[in-house]
C-alpha cells in the first residue's frame, strides 16, 4: 500500500498556563489519503480545531505540540522552522476558515490578494498570475470574474466571500486543504452550494480535504471517512456511512441519536446527560465514563485505545476482548 498523504501519529497538544499544563488534544492518530475528504466532528472544546491548526502550524501560544509526529508525504512537518513551514503552507496545505470576512484583507481588492499569493509561491509574471487568478475565480463559481476581481471583500456576499477564500486556498494547487467550519456562518442554501463546490474541486484535482465541523449532516453529506472527537481524543473513526448509521462508541451513538431528523417522529430526542468536561476538569480513565450509560468500573481507571469494531474503530473498553 502506498504512503498516505498525511499521517498523524500520537499527536498531543498542550497549553502551558500558570495553573499547570492543560492537555487539550491527547494522543490522536489518523491518516488522510490523497483525494479523500476526511471529516473531524465533535462538540465545541473537543479539540478538533486545534488539531487542524497543529497540522498547518498555526497553533497560537501558549498552545504547543507536546508529542507525536505529523507527516506529509512521509516527511515530518511538525518540527519545521518557521520560514520552511510558511513556504509549505503556501505550497502544499491550504486553509479555509469559518469566517470569510476575517480571512480576507478588507483593504485590498480580492484580485490583488490572489495575485500576491500566487506570485509568492510561483514565479509567474504579473499577467500570468492575473490569468491564473481569473481562472480560479471562475472555477469556484464567481460570475463575471473579470469585473469582480477588482472589487473589495465587503462588496461580496457571505457565500461569494467563502468562494474567494477557497480560491485563495487553491492558488498553488495544494495537496491538502484544511477547512475549519467552512459553512457554519452561512445559510443552508449557501452551505449546500459551498459543500458541492468543495466536493467537486476535490474530485477534479485530487486534493484531500480535512473538513472540521460540528454538524454531522455536513459530514454525512460530504466526507468519506470521519473521526468523532470527544474531550481531546478520538472516540470513533471509520467510514462515514458506518459511523453515521451504525455507530459503535457509546458517545457516537448518543450524539447520532440526539440529532433531530426530519421525518423521524418522536416525542423526545435521545439525550446524553451532562456536558463535555472542560479541559482542566477531564475525568480519569475514559473521559466519557461519567456520562456513559454502559460504563463499567474499569472505565474510570483505564484509558481506552482505538479497537476494531465492525467496520470502524472505537475507543471503548467494552470492546477490549472483542465483545460485546
Amino acid at each position: 500500500m502506498s504512503v498516505p498523504l498525511l499521517q498523524i501519529n500520537n499527536l498531543s497538544i498542550e497549553f502551558n498556563t500558570r495553573r499547570g499544563n492543560l492537555v487539550a488534544v491527547e494522543d490522536i492518530s489518523f491518516e488522510v489519503a490523497e483525494g479523500e475528504i476526511f471529516g473531524i466532528v465533535g462538540e465545541s472544546g473537543a479539540g478538533k480545531s486545534l488539531t487542524g491548526k497543529a497540522i498547518i502550524g498555526l497553533l497560537e501560544a501558549p498552545g504547543r505540540i507536546s508529542g507525536g509526529k505529523i507527516l506529509l508525504n512521509n516527511e515530518r512537518i511538525d518540527n519545521l522552522p518557521y520560514e520552511q513551514m510558511r513556504r509549505l503552507r503556501g505550497k502544499s496545505i491550504g486553509m479555509v476558515f469559518q469566517d470569510p470576512l476575517t480571512s480576507l484583507n478588507p483593504l485590498y481588492t480580492i484580485g490583488r490578494q490572489l495575485i500576491e499569493t500566487i506570485q509568492t509561491h510561483t514565479n509567474h509574471t504579473a499577467t500570468q498570475a492575473k490569468n491564473r487568478a481569473l481562472e480560479l475565480l471562475r472555477e469556484v463559481g464567481i460570475p463575471a470574474a473579470e469585473k469582480r476581481i477588482d472589487q473589495f471583500p465587503h462588496q461580496f456576499s457571505g457565500g461569494m466571500r467563502q468562494r474567494v477564500v477557497i480560491a485563495l486556498a487553491l492558488c498553488v494547487n495544494p495537496k491538502l486543504i484544511i477547512a475549519d467550519e467552512p459553512t457554519t456562518a452561512l445559510d443552508v442554501s449557501i452551505q449546500a452550494q459551498i459543500l458541492t463546490l468543495l466536493k467537486n474541486l476535490c474530485r477534479k484535482h485530487g486534493t484531500a480535504v480535512i473538513l472540521i465541523t460540528h454538524d454531522m449532516g455536513v459530514i454525512a453529506e460530504t466526507a468519506n471517512r470521519v473521526a468523532v472527537m470527544y474531550a481531546g481524543k478520538i472516540a470513533e473513526i471509520g467510514p462515514v456511512r458506518e459511523v453515521v448509521q451504525n455507530p459503535q462508541h457509546p458517545y457516537a451513538q448518543g450524539l447520532m441519536a440526539s440529532i433531530p431528523v426530519i421525518g423521524r417522529k418522536m416525542k423526545y430526542l435521545a439525550q446524553i446527560d451532562g456536558s463535555m468536561p472542560r479541559i482542566a476538569e477531564r475525568p480519569s480513565g475514559c473521559a466519557f465514563h461519567p456520562r456513559c450509560p454502559h460504563a463499567i468500573e474499569l472505565c474510570n481507571k483505564q484509558i481506552p485505545e482505538l479497537l476494531n469494531k465492525g467496520k470502524t474503530k472505537a475507543a471503548c473498553l467494552l470492546f477490549r476482548n472483542g465483545n460485546p
Binding site: 445559510d187 442554501s189 449546500a192 454531522m216 440529532i259 430526542l269 439525550q271 456536558s275
Partner: protein
C-alpha cells in the same frame, strides 16, 4: 385553521428601519431616505398550547417579528393582539405590566443573555421582583419567598438550588440556557418567544434543551413562538410553521403538510438544501443565487430572481397569502395558477 380565539394574533404588521446615512451627509449627497422593510405585512395567529415556528435564512426578518411581539420594537403599522387585547391601545407602563408578565422571551446566545456581574439567583429573581409576584409577609418574608421560588425554578430546569450563588461564567452554554429558561419561567408566563434558543449549542446539549422545553410546555401549558433556521429542529418541536423570505411570509402550514407536501418554491428550495443525514444517496440540486439585498428587494414576488418557475406576472405583481386548503396558506402565483413545477424539483 380553527375559529377559536387565538392566544396571539399578528395582523398586517410592518416594521421599517431607517438605514439612511446621517442627515447632513444625506442632504449634501442629495440622497433620499433609505428604508429597510425588515417585516413587511405579516399576519399569523397562534393558538393556546401550540408551538408555532418561523423559519427562514438570516436577514429574513424572523427575529424582528419576535422582538415586535414582545415589545422590544414598536410596529410601524398593523396590530398585535394578545388574547384579544391590542398592544397599541395600552400606553401606560402599568397597563402593560400584566401582559408583559404573561409573555417572555428566550434568546439565542446563552452567554450574553445573562448579566455577567449578577449572581444567578438575582438574574432569576429579577422578573419576580419586577412584577411583585411575592408581596406577602413583609420584606423578610418576601425575600425568603423569592429565595425558595428561585430554588424551585432552578430545579425545574435541571439545575440545583445551590447554583443560585454562582455567576454565569461558571456554567457551560447549555446550563446558561437553562438559567435563561428559569428566568423566563419566573414570571409564570403563558407564552414564550424563543429566538433560536439552541443555535449556539452543541447537538447533544441542544437535545437536552429541546426536551426540557417540551416537558415544560406540557407541565405548564405553555405556548411557544419558536424562531429557527434549522428545519430539523423546527420539524421536531412545531405544530404549525411559517416560512419567511425577505420580510414576508411565503407559506404557513401545519408541520405534516409542510414537510410532506411543501408548496412554495422557496420552501422546496430550503428543504432541498438540508444536508441529508440519512445518506439516501439522492442527488441534490444545489439552488443557485443568494438572498438579495433587503434594502432594494426585487419587484413583485421577492423570490422571483431565484425561482425556476417565475414568469412576467411574478416580476410585476406581489403575491398575497392565500388559503390553499384547511392545512396551508401560500403566497405564490404559480400555485394559484397551478403551474407545473414538478420538473424543477425532485
Amino acid at each position: 385553521m380553527s375559529s377559536e380565539t387565538p392566544l396571539l394574533k399578528v395582523d398586517a404588521v410592518q416594521r421599517f428601519f431607517d438605514v439612511s446615512k446621517p442627515w447632513l451627509n444625506r442632504v449634501l449627497a442629495n440622497e433620499p431616505k433609505l428604508l429597510l422593510k425588515a417585516v413587511d405585512d405579516i399576519s399569523f395567529s397562534i393558538r393556546k398550547g401550540e408551538t408555532f415556528s418561523l423559519v427562514g435564512e438570516s436577514g429574513c426578518g424572523k427575529s424582528t417579528v419576535a422582538r415586535l411581539i414582545v415589545g422590544l420594537y414598536p410596529t410601524s403599522s398593523g396590530s398585535i393582539e394578545f388574547e384579544g387585547t391590542d398592544f397599541s391601545t395600552l400606553s401606560k407602563r402599568n397597563q402593560m405590566a400584566p401582559l408583559r408578565r404573561r409573555m417572555t422571551m428566550i434568546f439565542q446566545d446563552p452567554y450574553t443573555s445573562l448579566n455577567p456581574r449578577w449572581r444567578v439567583r438575582d438574574i432569576i429573581a429579577e422578573p419576580i421582583r419586577a412584577f411583585g409576584l411575592t408581596n406577602t409577609g413583609g420584606i423578610s418574608g418576601s425575600r425568603l419567598q423569592i429565595f425558595n421560588r428561585v430554588a424551585e425554578l432552578l430545579e425545574q430546569v435541571g439545575l440545583s438550588a445551590a447554583d443560585g450563588d454562582k455567576y454565569p461564567h461558571e456554567f457551560s452554554g447549555g446550563q446558561c440556557q437553562r438559567i435563561s429558561i428559569a428566568r423566563a419561567l419566573a414570571s409564570e408566563p403563558d407564552f414564550i418567544v424563543c429566538d433560536e434558543p439552541t443555535s449556539a449549542l452543541d447537538v447533544s446539549v441542544q437535545a437536552q434543551i429541546l426536551n426540557l422545553m417540551k416537558n415544560l410546555q406540557r407541565e405548564l401549558e405553555l405556548t411557544y413562538l419558536f424562531i429557527s433556521h434549522d428545519l430539523a429542529v423546527v420539524y421536531h418541536v412545531s405544530d404549525n410553521i411559517g416560512v419567511m423570505y425577505l420580510g414576508r411570509l411565503c407559506e404557513i402550514a401545519d408541520k405534516e403538510t409542510l414537510f410532506t407536501n411543501p408548496r412554495h418554491p422557496y420552501t422546496r428550495m430550503l428543504f432541498n438544501a438540508i444536508p441529508d443525514i440519512n445518506m439516501s444517496g439522492k442527488e441534490r440540486i444545489p439552488v443557485s443565487g443568494e438572498v438579495p439585498n433587503p434594502i432594494e428587494p426585487p419587484s413583485g414576488c421577492t423570490f422571483h430572481p431565484r425561482c425556476p418557475i417565475a414568469n412576467e406576472r411574478c416580476k410585476r405583481e406581489r403575491p398575497e397569502l392565500q388559503i390553499v386548503d384547511s392545512h396551508s396558506q401560500v403566497a405564490c402565483h404559480a400555485i394559484e395558477e397551478k403551474r407545473n413545477m414538478e420538473v424543477h424539483f425532485i
